[in-house]
Amino acid sequence: MGNPDQPALPPDAAISIALDRMWERHRSQILERVAVLEAAALAVAANQLSASDREAAHAAAHKLAGTLGMFNLPRGTDVAREIELMYFKESALLAASGQQLAAMAAELRTMIEDRKSNR
């Protein structure tokens, strides 16, 4: 509850503070989605990507694309969207290397782990 003696924060400041709190609550779940992408990249590199691995990677990338930009990580949304397309299109997946997919997942992990508060 807010302190009645303090003036209410403007909406942008209130949202920024609340987003930082939400980020801390959801960060581990977001990193789990990156772990799915890392595992799928390893499977691609070993030529052992199953249909369910691919579906899981596509879903994880899709969720990351929809989420990261809300938390002030627009580059994260762009990278996740690119990964999503790779797991969606057979031709894109055939053209991609496990190394490339691993590098993109690593970029996501770094920006998520390094995200600074908006304040």
């Binding site: 909406p11 942008d12 209130a14 949202i15 609340a18 987003l19 939400m22 959801h26 779940q29 977001i30 879903a59 899709h62 969720k63 694309a65 929809g66 989420t67 990261l68 930009g69 809300m70 627009p74 949304t77 969207r81």
Partner: protein
């Protein structure tokens, strides 16, 4: 004007941020549902002014949920806005053809989500 919005999305973080945004920026009342089936029930129970509906959900997805809402006379007239992270043109056309009022895209800006909804629905 105070509005009541139902958010149907299986992702906790999206529900929380959308809810925070609509409550904090616009002062609207928000009801949340984490699945299509739960959303259909909440819509009939609460009669929101609009529904923000995720497309990709396990079980009953967004389009199937939309059809259920339209089948029930109690919810048939409630405006529905699809919320999607899909940006491919073919998907956008498919969603527009469903007959929803608008398609909004993830990630959304928490500061402008209520303005996007108001604009899409012609609310002052």
């Amino acid at each position: 004007m105070g509005r009541k919005i139902l958010i149907i999305d299986d992702e906790d973080d999206i529900r929380e941020v959308a809810s925070l945004s609509l409550e904090t920026v616009a002062g609207w009342e928000v009801i949340k549902a984490s699945s299509g089936a739960q959303g259909v029930a909440r819509a009939a129970e609460h009669h929101p002014d609009a529904i923000l509906l995720d497309v990709m959900m396990p079980g009953m997805d967004g389009p199937a949920t939309f059809h259920e809402l339209r089948k029930n006379p109690a919810t048939a007239a409630i405006p529905v806005l699809l919320l999607t992270a899909k940006v491919q043109g073919t998907d956008q056309r498919r969603f527009a053809d469903l007959g929803v009022e608008a398609v909004l895209f993830k990630p959304f800006d928490p500061l402008s989500l209520s303005a996007q909804i108001s604009r899409a629905l012609g609310w002052k």
